[in-house]
């Protein structure tokens, strides 16, 4: 099975103190460290595991610039066969639809049985997977937390309300957005990355993908970010005082008062 995984490089929330810049239109980008968007990392692991069982290749693609090669190498060190960078100044400022347009153009150039995205990106809007499927006219399942292949189809389960699962059959080729927890992604260390350090990563621009530059990028974006703000601090938490039993009975009272206990 030929699998394409769309991945993205994002500031790692566990290793950065995300703050707004003074202009309030972006986060402070000095001293940020980046990593692969967590959901995408699960998607790559899932793709590798499928290929390990059924054969085929995993390709990881990202839309960005040279800095984003770092995550492609990380995913290749995990076991993805190919990494592809889609990069063009014309793509700067694309909204979710723009990104989906770019990726759709790339998917059409190749021959993939399965396209995976993360459910969302830490810096994103959870739009690309669904739009990409629509543009390709592929079936789509979101929030996928298990995949099983049979008879040229997939059986996928989706995470629904309350942690329940919904089982679906879906025809190939299709697009799936992958939920975290679907697997346990393998570890990639410096050594793994070094081993793929010299692998050539092809880069495609708008013309390589036969993309009309006016359909993507900032000019074509229909969703525009106007502001960032930190929500005002709500009233402080109430600290219950007293010994353990007193606190416990106060908690019960409070929950009862809000209808949580009958």
């Amino acid at each position: 099975m030929e699998i394409l995984v769309c991945a993205r490089r994002v500031p790692d929330t566990s290793e950065n103190e995300i703050q707004l810049n003074s202009a309030g239109n972006d986060i402070e980008r000095d001293d940020l460290v980046y990593s692969v968007n967590e959901w995408d990392n699960y998607a790559v692991e899932e793709a590798i595991q499928i290929v390990d069982r059924l054969g085929g290749n995993v390709t990881v693609v990202t839309v960005g610039n040279e800095d984003d090669e770092e995550i492609l190498r990380r995913e290749m060190a995990m076991g993805a066969k190919h990494g592809v960078l889609i990069s063009d100044e014309a793509f700067d400022g694309s909204d979710g639809r723009g990104l989906a347009t770019i990726l759709a153009a790339f998917v059409k150039k190749g021959k993939y049985d399965l396209v995976l995205t993360g459910v969302q990106a830490e810096a994103g809007e959870a739009q690309v997977g669904g739009m990409l499927a629509a543009m390709l006219d592929y079936p789509f399942a979101s929030l996928v937390n298990s995949i099983e292949a049979f008879d040229g189809k997939l059986k996928v389960s989706r995470e629904i309300e309350g942690g329940n699962r919904e089982m679906n059959e879906i025809d190939l080729p299709c697009v799936l957005s992958i939920q975290t927890g679907i697997n346990e992604p393998r570890y990639v260390g410096i050594r793994g990355i070094r081993q793929v350090a010299s692998v050539e990563i092809p880069s495609y621009g708008a013309s390589d993908l036969s993309l009309d530059a006016s359909a993507v990028g900032e000019a074509a974006a229909k969703v525009k970010r106007v502001d960032y703000f930190v929500p005002p601090m709500a009233k402080g938490a109430e600290m219950l005082q007293g010994d353990r039993e007193e606190i416990a009975s106060k908690v019960i009272e409070l929950i009862k008062a809000k209808g949580g206990l009958k």
């Binding site: 566990s14 290793e15 950065n16 001293d31 992604p185 570890y187 260390g189 410096i190 050594r191 081993q195």
Partner: protein, 695 residues
């Protein structure tokens, strides 16, 4: 004198002449033994290299102490004393065994140097040796068969009980001793009956008692007993020899080599592959131990040499809290794997992955690398290097628990496991009250100092542990040290990064720190974190001398530069908990105790497990992130041990011990009765300030 006793060599056994029979048996026995040994050596020839052929004089001295001197045996007193007697008996009787074999071929063959007076003296000694061994075998059999000390038990998940093997071997030894004594006694009895001068039997020895019992037995019976006991001895001897390499008694043969080739440098970890430099590691195809043949030959020799005494697991804190790790079975399972895969008959079997085969992932991640097992092993076996090698193998396959992946990634991108920003590394010094008393320089090229205080990650970033950092800085000031810190340029020392098997990440941290330290041009390094101390001292190369703060305090107290006030409370009873990386791995036991005892009026007690038997708090560095399967926490057991010793303050000298013991005290429900304090904090509280402001 007419020889009226027919010797085994002259006798006829059924249709065979004795000397023929007793030439054939040793030949067959030795051939069989050589065949078995060749099969046992086979996996060693497939193993990874290991450089142990250096430092001959140190190795010989250590062999004298730990092998011939059985130095570690009395740590378990009864078993140890029994073993020392058995061992000394075996060494003594080995000459007799050789001479007995020779006697079967020709009556006049004597072991060189054992004729005449020496021989007579030796005969007395060996009679007593044999008698003592016989007694020890009986006691040992009662221990194994009746008393059954808990540490010999085999938990169901590790296989079947090993008692029968132990009893079988004890039985073989008893037969050897009894038949040799009967052989001697029957001849002496005949000689007495004939009024001939007989070889003196040592009074009260087994042979002497047997002779006295046999003295009125008819002579033909005695003659038969003489010949039969010889045959039994000969057969048992070679059966025993060939049985040795089949199980735990292989150590009788391998122990000398195992001790001679034992690891010499404490606190270090073996290289990924011996003979491959750090700069060539990219060319090594596979890291660590994934299959049995990835072990080094010495590690395989360890497996063969294990006497299954269970002392390692008896001391292992992971085993004590019910983690799925028992060092003894790391070895026994590998030995059995080797025996299965390199069978005595037929071709070696295809190798299988060790993880998921004989070992589980959690088993290998459960080790805190505290070193208690290695400290205890009478045969000087290594565990940490094997665990690290197995972890390297898992890391190489990407098989790392999710709980460890984040901190490892953060160490890579931020240089600390918490993912904190580098620029905040020195924030612990910015505390206002502290800054008024003590201004800590950051050695960033503009500032210079004689001494570097290497803070390391946890003390720099953890709110609670920052207090240890400030205490350390105040002590350094009080001692008049010209010191500074690296600040943002300091990355994690990487002690646990290396020990969790992430060698390349460790090397990048090490190289970064080593460059920063060299650039700071300091003349020496001090740290209050034993893990950093160990890494800088043993894993890094070419740095200025490194000291733990307890060593510096001890020295300055002696020199009179640091003076300590009397303890405030008479209620407090202190006990010192040895951090593994300060104590066992670096042998710093006395300095911290000396510092405590230098505080006037301080009452101090020892826990039963102290010094080189200290009980790990739960592990430091990355171990704080790992989520082990366990029944309880090591810190809880440790807090209870302190309570048993009658202490109400645990003093430690390591921020990780602080984390784990603080938690342990809470979980043990001892919050009202027990506190824990770092040695630096305690000294800081008691230091006599000479500044006029606080005088």
């Amino acid at each position: 004198m007419v020889e009226v006793i027919v010797s085994p060599a002259q006798a006829r056994y059924l249709v065979v002449q004795g000397r023929v029979l007793f030439s054939i048996i040793p030949l067959l026995g030795i051939a069989c033994f050589a065949y078995i040994m060749a099969k046992r050596v086979a996996p060693l020839l497939q193993s990874a290299p290991d450089f142990r052929f250096d430092q001959i004089s140190i190795r010989l001295t250590r062999s004298l102490k730990y092998w011939l001197g059985q130095w570690r045996q009395p740590r378990y007193l009864l078993a140890g004393v029994l073993h020392i007697i058995l061992f000394a008996g075996f060494v003594t009787l080995s000459v007799r065994s050789v001479s007995l074999v020779a006697l079967g071929i020709n009556d006049s063959l004597v072991v060189p140097g054992f004729s005449g007076g020496v021989g007579h003296f030796y005969n007395l000694i060996k009679d007593y040796a044999a008698t003592l061994v016989f007694l020890c075998v009986m006691i040992a059999a009662i221990r194994r068969g009746v008393i059954k000390p808990a540490r010999y038990a085999v938990p169901a998940r590790y296989g079947k009980d090993h008692t029968s093997e132990a009893i079988l071997v004890l039985g073989l030894i008893a037969i050897l001793i009894a038949s040799e004594s009967a052989f001697e006694a029957s001849r002496a009895a005949i000689q007495m009956q004939l009024g001939q001068p007989a070889e003196t039997l040592a009074p009260l020895s087994l042979a002497w008692m047997m002779r006295n019992a046999l003295v009125s037995t008819p002579r033909p019976w005695l003659q038969n007993l003489h010949l039969d006991s010889y045959l039994i001895h000969e057969l048992t001897f070679f059966a025993f020899l060939c049985f040795l390499p089949m199980g735990k008694h292989f150590h009788v043969i391998t122990s000398l080599f195992n001790v001679y080739f034992a690891k010499l440098r404490r606190g270090t970890v073996k290289p990924v592959r011996w003979g491959v430099g750090d700069d060539q590691l990219d060319q090594v195809k596979s890291f660590g131990v994934k299959k049995f043949e990835d072990f080094t030959w010495k590690h395989m020799l360890d497996f063969y040499s294990c006497a299954d005494c269970g002392r390692c697991s008896d001391q292992c804190p992971a085993n004590a809290v019910g983690r799925p790790l028992s060092p003894r079975f790391i070895t026994i399972k590998a030995r059995d794997y080797s025996f299965r895969h390199y069978p005595l008959f037929g071709k070696p079997r295809e190798s299988e992955p060790l993880i998921g085969g004989i070992y589980s992932e959690d088993e290998i991640w459960s080790c805190t690398t505290c070193g208690a097992c290695e400290e205890e092993c009478p045969l000087m076996m290594e565990y940490i290097d094997k665990i690290v090698d197995l972890r390297r193998g898992m890391i190489d396959e990407g098989n790392v628990p999710q709980s460890l992946q984040k901190p490892l990634k953060s160490l890579e991108s931020r240089g600390n496991p918490y993912g904190k920003q580098e620029k905040k590394k020195a924030e612990w010094t910015k505390n206002k009250d502290f800054q008024q008393m003590c201004n800590v320089k950051v050695l960033d090229g503009k500032n210079s100092a004689k001494t570097l205080y290497f803070v390391d990650s946890i003390t720099s970033y953890d709110d609670r542990m920052q207090s240890i950092g400030r205490a350390t800085a105040r002590i350094l000031s009080a001692a008049g040290e010209d010191f500074g810190i690296l600040g943002p340029a300091e990355k994690d020392s990487g002690n646990e990064v290396r020990r969790f098997g992430e060698e390349m990440l460790f090397q990048s941290l090490r190289d970064h720190n080593a460059d920063a330290i060299k650039a700071s041009r300091v003349q020496r390094i001090v740290t209050a974190d034993p893990h950093a101390y160990n890494a800088l001292k043993n894993d890094y190369k070419g740095l200025p001398p490194v000291e733990h703060i307890s060593q510096l305090i001890a020295r300055e107290v002696k020199a009179g530069k640091i003076k300590l006030n009397r303890v405030e409370s008479n209620e407090a009873v202190y006990t010192y908990h040895d951090p593994c990386y300060l104590g066992r791995h670096n042998q710093v036991y006395d300095d911290p105790r000396g510092v405590l005892d230098a505080i006037p009026g301080l009452k101090r007690v020892e826990m039963s497990r102290c010094r080189d038997r200290s009980f790990c708090c739960g592990g430091g560095g990355l171990m704080l992130f790992y989520e082990p399967q366990e029944e309880q926490r090591m810190g809880v057991l440790r807090a209870n041990m302190a309570a048993e010793a009658g202490a109400n303050v645990i003093v430690t000298a390591c921020p990780f011990c602080m984390v784990n013991i603080e938690d342990g005290i809470k979980v043990a429900g001892l919050e009202e009765k027990m506190t824990v304090i770092d040695l630096a904090e305690l000294v800081d509280k008691h230091i006599v300030s000479e500044s006029p402001a606080s005088a």
